[in-house]
Symmetry: C2
Subunit: 512 residues, 2 copies
């Protein structure tokens, strides 16, 4: 018995040609980023706009020529323009075109004599409609990107200009593509996108490692008054603060999105989340994007199926739609990237319970198959990264679900299993990267939830709205969380999380 | 000359049937929300899960029966289940099924004798695979949604449960659909989605009506210390704050997304933005979502073309994909909604310059065609809402662009026109709602930008990164901003902005 697909009716508003929105220009990708690499465009006249990557002069049979490579960011490669002496705009182009300058070119698409490209642009002197127009010049002695190679550290310091670099441009295209992939995956499966709140004053969020959101600091500065802690409450006076109580930036949309799952069945949130951790590692940001689906009437196994489908779909999507950029990452960032990605699609992921995983680790240590730095492996411990990587890289050599963790090392809302000792939680581990996704079935039984809240040192009274979901038509449900930047790192091989988000926020850094 | 469409390669990972993610259940929408309303499902056995909308008993020829209407949120309508006496789970269902209870039903899809539906579920006593299982009961004397009709004010107080109401469920489906529409529109036109930052410490943002983000308040409370304003600087000591300087929640992604447009040509951002305005109106929120596209090499006319395409595409999308819910809004919220939406698609929008609009207003007042509350209409004024509505509703009776506003009433970054008096800004007005979208061509000339920054009382030094875009390969570019909640209000007719976002934030309210 298979379910029918949701009905998709195609829009009757035609997708107008790209040029209707953007003034008659043709994108580089639309010319050379297609199957025939531009062959079918030969003989047509186009307007191309972009920034100069390289410009050089050459003396040919017909006089002087300029070879200008132009990028408009629509794809990694630029298009080459051959600019003939005395064409319209030639002399200004001669004096002003350097790396980074912007141009508008009207030219014919012709077959290129060079091996590396099928077509190029010819800006002819004998055609009065052809031209090269310098839109914005660059003083190359000042331009931070005038030279070719730049360290990633340097690029981070010029975050406003770095999308012009090959690396950050490629990341931007893959990031945009994967965001579209997230929506495509869930929307086509009938999940509803829910915007969970960013600012929260819910008591259950707790203030640990959260950013506070306030208007009373600015007010106090304006009035030149100090903010005084009330010795009785140990708190500032929040009566005149915007929300009349302490409020914070969300650390997760899960608790909010559960409300919607318990009404609309299949939902997901995809938005920014925040941690005020004083962390300077290459894997942590203070502001990052999370994907958090929540599925009603689902258990931990449905959850693992959905995670596996989602990860495979994302990898296949990038291979289908971003191969140019992936090839660049394979050459410059991680050799073998594309093969690693293809391997993700081969066969089902492995599944192993936490208890079995611990047994395997202890057995293989005893058999001297492996030596860990942390040799204290025992049931009840949180797996270290070296243990996780051994499981996924050596034992299974494929993406691996570890599930049913001891309740003591997992959050209160995860569903207690029949054994009374473990909860229905899972981490999806992947070779070369470790944990990619974490998920769990949620505790839907009110009495057990209350016991777990208390056990965890929290107050049952702070969870009024969360408990209501268990009082009124409670349902089994499960969900998971994917750090969007971690997913991009996984798919591009880029090692530092600061390079996969446009404007990274970490301690001391919130410029641009 | 038309540009080719971007190459779209279909994924090789098949979309697995819905049930693979979610444990074999079939959605109500997939049964009765299709073209034949379920006809082709007749004879099949399905598992349906959801919440009870109504349950009643009836005595039939074959004994007692229960009629249970079940909703799973996938569409407005629920599906009717006929539960025969003595089927598996019957007696528990008898005692525990009330509005809001959750059930799992295994049943056959049969032709319905009732006129209002083509099919229904039959849970038979003579089929041992059939069953009705109560997953979670409800104490109906406690359940806030037990009764049928609820005021919107009351629903806002139970924001965690209100997606179970018809109104908020319908809004949630349309909101999700329109979010998918936004991405579909821009992605298919080759725009890249850029996540602009939420937290910003950029000097150019200014602190007026912004939320401050800080970790030093919590630190001071923990230590029991006051926060003291330095009398010299008039500021708190931010050295130990997370970002080591005052930082705030963004009010717009525009300045950030311009950086990406000036590298990748066609980009958009879609994310939360914030205003700490002490506003209690039905049209303002402290936290809301904005769509902000930015197009390089484009002028104000390209911008208006893109706005018009976008609005028509969104309206058509909702008509194609959300007709059930729109019919509900037409019946319950705004009579004539669907006709109003269809009219948006008829012919091009009107375009009128600000100067012409002022002339029309003065002329029609003089001719006694109209009487405004604010009778002081003069060139240089900001149009009041009554003037805007007269222009779009009476003069043109269709969506209308007003463009080229006096520079004094618009932002410094909008491009100065040749007349030296107006800037290339536009507001798109719509009958019945007023301003829907605002956009402008950006000032790309450094000297004029600097003069406008100074004229506006701002410091040129605070705009270093923004000015760099004009120093290094500057290009004409334009963009616009759409308040996502305003768009939903426009398309659903819902009058209060607090009802079109899952968890509204306004002064004093950040619960859930």
């Amino acid at each position: 018995m298979t379910a029918t697909s949701p009905q998709v009716i195609e829009s009757k508003v035609p997708i107008k040609s790209y040029s209707s929105c953007v003034g008659g220009r043709t994108r580089v990708k639309d010319i050379i980023g297609v199957q025939d690499q531009g062959e079918s465009w030969i003989g047509q006249t186009v307007t191309v706009c972009g920034w100069v990557k390289t410009a050089r002069n050459q003396k040919g049979d017909d006089g002087l020529m300029m070879f200008v490579e132009i990028s408009d960011g629509s794809m990694l490669q630029g298009i080459q323009a051959v600019v003939f002496e005395n064409c319209v705009g030639y002399s200004k182009a001669q004096s002003q075109l350097g790396t980074g300058a912007s141009v508008k070119i009207v030219a014919e698409i012709v077959r290129s004599p060079a091996a590396k490209q099928v077509v190029e642009l010819a800006v002819r002197a004998d055609n009065s409609t052809h031209k090269i127009e310098v839109l914005g010049s660059v003083n190359s002695s000042e331009y931070p990107l005038a030279k070719k190679q730049h360290s990633r550290e340097f690029l981070r310091e010029i975050a406003h200009l770095r999308p012009r670099s090959n690396l950050i441009g490629a990341v931007a295209r893959v990031r945009s593509s994967l965001a579209a992939c997230v929506h495509d995956f869930f929307q086509h499966r009938g999940f509803l996108y829910v915007h969970t709140p960013i600012i929260t004053a819910a008591d259950c969020e707790g203030a640990g490692e959260m950013f506070q959101v306030s208007t009373i600091m600015a007010k106090a500065e304006k009035e030149g008054k100090s903010l005084v802690v009330d010795p009785k409450t140990g708190k500032f006076d929040y009566e005149s603060d915007f929300f009349a109580k302490p409020s914070f930036l969300t650390v997760s949309g899960q608790l909010s999105v559960e409300n919607y799952a318990c009404a609309l069945s299949d939902v997901y949130t995809f938005g920014p989340t925040f941690r005020a951790e004083n962390s300077h590692t290459s894997r942590h940001l203070a502001e990052f994007w999370m994907i958090e689906p929540e599925i009603a009437f689902a258990d931990i196994h449905d959850d693992m199926n959905c995670i596996e489908d989602f990860l495979k779909f994302s990898v296949q999507w990038a291979l289908d739609k971003n191969m140019d950029d992936l090839q660049f990452f394979d050459e410059r960032v991680e050799k073998g990237l594309i093969n690693r990605l293809r391997a993700v699609l081969d066969g089902p992921f492995a599944k192993v319970s936490y208890t079995e995983a611990i047994e395997i680790l202890i057995r293989d240590m005893k058999d001297k198959k492996v030596k860990f730095e942390n040799t204290k492996v025992f049931w009840g411990m949180d797996l270290d990264s070296e243990h996780e990587r051994y499981i996924t890289e050596k034992v299974f050599n494929k993406p691996t679900f570890v599930y049913n963790y001891p309740k003591e090392i997992k959050a209160f809302y995860m569903r207690l299993n029949e054994d009374g000792k473990t909860v229905a939680a899972t981490d999806c581990l992947a070779p070369g990267i470790g944990e990619v996704v974490g998920g769990s079935q949620r505790e839907e039984r009110l009495d057990i939830l209350d016991a777990r809240i208390t056990e965890s040192g929290l107050n049952v009274e702070d969870y009024g709205f969360y408990r209501d979901l268990r009082k009124y038509g409670s349902v089994p449900h499960a969900g998971f969380g994917v750090g969007f930047e971690r997913l991009i790192m996984y798919i591009t091989g880029v090692e530092n999380i600061r390079d996969v988000i446009p404007f990274p926020r970490f301690p001391g850094h919130a410029e641009f």
